[in-house]
């Protein structure tokens, strides 16, 4: 068997096995656990790059677990959509793993370090598994692996509010997962199969059956809870703002995205586009909910006083963009929302990491205390500004590209009224990020703070960055911020892949 054929399996097996090795290695030396995490996520990143490359050149790769032929056995499928998302997820988890090294030592504690990395690897296993699998029940299992380790990771920090946040996340997340399980049961009941491609062909005759309609509704609700669509977003605020920043980062950048991936997969590949949007009024419902999410998310963000809560609230609006693009269901808007999966993962991942390094260096949570940080942590704050601009959607940053595609897509669908929605939320975004950036660079420092720095007036580069975050945390954020610019200028690279994936989804293929 050639190596390429087993690679889809390896992407999930490598993090799974390393999560078993980590506790053993951790007994010898706690630091080894971090080395293993970085190595494993890097290996996953390389493999998924290779997979994406061969998918784009030679077409879909399918791997049969244990050699059982689908639909009887479990099949892993990599097509242009899952390959695209797989590369993003493994890259972000690699970046966050690098950044975790210093942060975890201080904010989580040495004694819990091994536990932290074990759970982190399980979370990565679940997230990558959701993306690679071609089997519905397998998808449920991976969803629960990712969520369960997520619940534990939210609670691993030192603050007590994190415990309650994690509890709420657990209750709501489990409800969502059970609804998905029930929907899978319904589909199995009417078709007798669990393989996605097989379900797609067999369901074609059954689209008017009540059972199938109910199953579809349950899928949408279940996944909407998991990625915090507007009325079901209550768990996200606590979980994302109280968790250790590294975890907020991976929850926002990876776990939310794979749930959105799962919903897109179910809507387009398991059911067909015609069923999802013509027979059922799901488009209207999702469009309404996502535009409310965009506006409410933006307005609520304005009212926040702490940095991480602000970032958590803005995630709700950003997930709204992705759903909006999906619900418009034409080629341009879907391309836009697929690029937004990439862009939001990069931006929000970086922003939470920077929030983490601010907490690491200064212990500041509140927005009003950020004054003067532009001088103390110039590099981190530059990265923050770039990512903030990209969240607003300023041209030449990545956020602009995806918003542009979604806006053009909504015009294409003849629904011009979504363009003002996008514009208003961008303006509000400019207000709340502008406020932070203003605070960081231009606001007057408190009196006693200003005198502290005056004795050391040597303006060398080294003295300027002496209050900067440790290099291990700085490099990932700078790389991510650089990518925000890079994908804003060289937009054709992700766009061409996303276009291919969107075409494939709209054709209803696997």
């Amino acid at each position: 068997m050639a190596l390429t054929e087993i690679l889809p399996g390896l992407v999930t097996v490598i993090p799974l096995i390393s999560s078993i090795i980590i506790p053993i290695a951790g007994m010898i030396n706690r630091l080894y656990s971090w080395h293993i995490v970085v190595a494993a996520t890097f290996a996953c990143f390389l493999i998924s790059l290779f997979l994406l490359n061969s998918v784009l050149n030679y077409g879909t790769i399918s791997y049969w677990f244990g050699g059982w032929q689908p639909p009887w056995g479990i099949e892993y499928v990599i097509d242009s959509f899952s390959g695209f998302v797989l590369v993003i997820m493994s890259f972000i988890s690699f970046m966050i793993a690098i950044s975790a090294g210093e942060y975890v030592k201080k904010q989580v504690g040495e004694e819990r370090m091994v536990l932290f990395y074990t759970l982190y690897m399980l979370l990565v296993t679940g997230a990558l598994g959701i993306v690679t699998t071609g089997d519905m029940f397998n998808l449920y299992i991976f969803l629960e692996i990712a969520s369960l380790s997520g619940y534990a990771l939210v609670a691993i920090g030192k603050k007590r509010a994190a415990l309650v946040a994690s509890y709420n996340y657990l209750i709501l997340g489990t409800i969502g997962a059970v609804l998905v399980l029930l929907a899978i049961g319904f589909l199995y009941m009417v078709t007798g199969t669990l393989n996605m491609a097989d379900l797609n062909t067999r369901l074609a005759d059954l689209y008017h059956s009540r059972v199938v309609l109910v199953a579809f509704a349950l899928f949408i609700i279940g996944f909407s809870i998991k990625f915090a669509l507007f009325p079901l977003h209550a768990w996200l605020l606590g979980a994302h703002s109280e968790a250790p920043s590294v975890i907020s980062s991976i929850l926002a950048a990876v776990v939310l995205k794979v749930s959105a991936y799962a919903m897109i997969r179910v809507m387009f590949s398991v059911f067909s586009v015609e069923f999802s949007f013509d027979i059922l009024p799901s488009a209207e419902i999702l469009l309404a909910l996502s535009s409310i999410a965009i506006i409410v998310g933006a307005v609520q963000t304005l009212a926040q006083t702490t940095l991480k809560r602000m970032l958590a609230y803005s995630s709700i609006g950003q997930m709204g963009y992705i759903v909006l693009g999906v619900a418009l269901a034409n080629q341009i808007a879907l391309t836009g929302s697929l690029i937004h999966i990439l862009n939001h993962a990069i931006m929000k991942g970086a922003l939470f990491l920077i929030a983490g390094s601010i907490i690491y260096k200064t212990g500041i949570y509140n927005l009003s205390e950020l004054k003067g940080l532009g001088k103390k942590m110039p590099l981190s704050m530059a990265a923050f500004t770039i990512c903030g601009l990209s969240m607003i959607g300023v041209p030449l940053t990545a956020g602009f590209v995806s918003k542009w595609y979604i806006a053009v897509g909504s015009l294409d669908a003849g629904m011009w009224y979504f363009v003002p929605v996008l514009l208003i939320s961008s303006l509000i975004g400019a207000v709340y990020f502008g406020r932070v950036i203003h605070n960081v660079y231009f606001a007057q420092e408190p009196e006693h703070e200003r005198h502290k720095g005056q004795n050391t007036d040597i303006k060398t580069f080294k003295s300027k960055i002496r209050d900067e975050a440790p290099i291990g945390m700085l490099i990932p954020t700078l790389i991510l911020a650089g990518l925000c610019i890079f994908f804003g200028i060289a937009a054709s690279i992700p766009v061409s892949i996303a276009e291919k994936a969107a075409n494939m989804l709209l054709m209803g293929g696997m």
Binding site: R160, L163, G185, M189, P446
Partner: protein, 121 residues
């Protein structure tokens, strides 16, 4: 299933919420078991495969696959319960109560203090 859902929404006690969650999950497990059942079906064990050939007639047997699936889902359910109970123990240590209303009251006081601090600064 709805009994469990009601318990999760209405009970202020965190442990009772978990009991509700378990009822909620068990309802789905039972649903899976019922779709496996078959009139006059027997245990899916092939006794004389030689006589029947490689693919025996599936009609007299109950469908074994949902049982297997649900065995996995039960494992997931047990892990969820374990994580939730561990969380409740830690919540109890941190807040000295497992009543949701009291915890929310404590948190409100904390946020209020934080806002006061910001206003002073």
């Amino acid at each position: 299933m709805m009994i469990g859902f009601y318990a999760m929404i209405a009970m202020p006690n965190l442990v009772k919420k978990i009991i509700g969650l378990n009822i909620f999950q068990t309802a789905v497990y039972l649903f899976y078991i019922t779709i496996a059942a078959r009139y006059d079906g027997t245990v899916p064990i092939i006794i004389d495969s030689g006589a029947l050939g490689l693919f025996p007639d599936p009609v007299p047997y109950a469908n074994p696959l949902p049982h297997v699936l649900i065995l996995t889902a039960i494992v997931v359910g047990v892990s969820v319960t374990a994580v939730a109970l561990a969380l409740i123990i830690r919540i109890h240590r941190a807040y000295d109560t497992i009543d949701e209303d009291k915890i929310i009251a404590i948190q409100k006081i904390e946020t209020h203090k934080n806002i006061q601090k910001i206003k002073e600064a």
